[in-house]
């Protein structure tokens, strides 16, 4: 007999099923309504319309004026911020994957003096919250003349200790016999790394890549510190500064404009997410527990 996964209690299956769907649909509405519907609906109103009370559930006369305003105004440069975010996230992901996978190969498959000691020191820093690096790193980046440049954001993020730990675990499980067979066929270290371990573990690398990309794309604290000029900001920094400039807490001036900026910055994310959702959720399941 085939083992069945846990079932809804058999007697009330039909009722339970309807209740279950109702609950899930409610939760889905609670997620989609704020994040997409109300944000986009507000962005299509005029600012006075956004303050109507009671509020209109859809814009009475939808207008794209705020989107147009964003494209022409210098201080809310969402496309430019999006470009900065994209360049930084892509470069960070590429550099991180490259240096981290090379080191993971070294720690997983090669021998050299002090290997375990070095690895323990590296892993130990996982326990230390990243904010402790911020002030000394800021001073270093400033002395290097990197403030307000992509370098300031990309390089400090490249040594990803968690990623090293994750990839080392995957690389360690590759069977020794297959590696020896490759050596017999004349493969050196570079070929084993580049032509065997990288392709065999591509799922782990993609998962880590998605993880790193999303963290870089959404990071606020560090870019906020090192990118100060308007045209150099990333999307999270640009929007956070807007949040401060247009009132705090309950007071909110020009909500329609702000919601247009938010929509513009998150609609590309939605599109990418819809296309790759299976891949993205699987990656987070894989990386979520450090590959355990």
């Amino acid at each position: 007999m085939e083992a069945k996964p846990p079932q809804l209690s058999d007697a009330n299956t039909q009722i339970s099923r309807i209740a279950l769907y109702a609950l899930l649909v409610l939760l889905a509405i609670a997620i989609l309504f704020p994040s997409y519907y109300w944000m986009v609906a507000t962005s299509l109103k005029t600012n006075p319309e956004a303050f109507y009370y009671p509020p209109d559930f859809y814009p009475p006369k939808p207008t794209l004026e705020h989107y147009h305003e964003i494209m022409t105004r210098g201080d809310i440069n969402v496309p430019r911020w999006g470009w900065n975010s994209l360049v930084i996230a892509v470069a960070t992901t590429a550099v991180t994957l490259f240096v981290t996978s090379m080191a993971a190969y070294g720690f997983a498959r090669l021998e050299f003096p002090f290997k375990n000691l070095i690895f323990i020191v590296v892993i130990f820093t996982l326990m230390i919250p990243s904010q402790i690096y911020m002030i000394p790193n800021y001073l270093l980046v400033r002395d290097l003349g990197w403030l307000d440049s992509y370098h300031a954001v990309i390089w400090p993020a490249a040594p990803n200790v968690f990623g090293l730990f994750l990839l080392r675990q995957f690389f360690s499980t590759f069977p020794r016999e297959l590696e020896e067979a490759a050596i017999v066929d004349g493969a050196g270290r570079l070929r084993i790394y580049w032509q065997i371990l990288i392709p065999v573990n591509r799922n782990a690398l993609i998962a880590l890549g998605i993880f790193v990309f999303l963290h870089s794309w959404n990071d606020l604290f560090w870019p906020l510190i090192v990118l100060s000029r308007v045209e150099n900001r990333t999307l999270p920094v640009g929007l956070a500064v807007l949040a401060g400039a247009y009132g705090a807490g309950d007071s909110f001036s020009e909500p329609a404009l702000i919601m247009a900026a938010s929509s513009m910055s998150s609609i590309p994310v939605l599109i990418v997410y819809v296309i790759f959702q299976r891949r993205i959720t699987q990656s987070f399941m894989l990386t979520g527990m450090g590959g355990r």
Partner: protein
Amino acid sequence: MFARYRQSLLPDKRGVSGSWRSWKWYLGNYAFILPFMLLFVVFILRPILASFQMSFFRWEVFGPKPFIGLENCDELLNDDLWWVALRNTVYFAFLTSALLTTLPIFIAITLNLPFRGRNDFRALFFFPYVLSASVVGLVMRWLLGQQFGIVNHLLGSVGVGPIPFIADSDLVIPSLSVITLWWAFGFPMLIYLAGLSNIPQDIYEAARIDGARGWQMTRYITIPLLRPIILFVAVTQLISHFQVFAQPYVITNGGPAQDSFTVIFYMFRAAWTYFRMGFGTAMAVSLAVIIMAFTLLQFRFGGRRLEY
């Protein structure tokens, strides 16, 4: 034959060590970890040590930087704002972690049931997590406003409120916690789903034969088997929410008054508004010590793996 090849790749202590051949070989092996280690030393190890060192100095961007021993620490202990920020941070971290550890268990168990469309629900529920804190903050601020917020309008239509979610001293931290729950619950949900998929199905089959039904299975099988993962989630959530900054920065600017001001927010202000880098590192070091205490708890309790 294999042994010889293997030795050439991985020279052991008896083998070729000491010779020029192995020296060159080891150098090649070091080359693989060199780029990572270089960046690691410059951007992680050095700043950790520098932070500890700087916290003993009056380190301001301009002017002399004298050694002052524990004066920064002393100032922190006597600083009312520090204690307010610490209290807010601890309150927020524990409340948010409690929500983010418990509720996703039940969502994960529900989404692990066999029904059509469960993968779509998984993807939908994870979605808010990919939005940046800035977008989430701005949208939530607009939704939860006391005067013009749509949530208060809907509550008003059933005769409740208006509730000053983010403008009231007592409500602001719980509100930020619930916003964070909305934003991030998909991540622990996926971790729990990964854990659930590792529980062998025959355990449920055996329990069914013994007469166990729905809730009993959850209570006596699923949750006990998930325990190591629940612990892992609780500790990692606690560590990450101790470092909260973006939500109060974007949503409340630390207000009303200082009621949502947090430790990292204070460090940010000390270092980049008042340029008191030494004082800022003293805060970072203090928080690091608190967080490390919780990480050690994880090693104490979370190290075991459960066998089925």
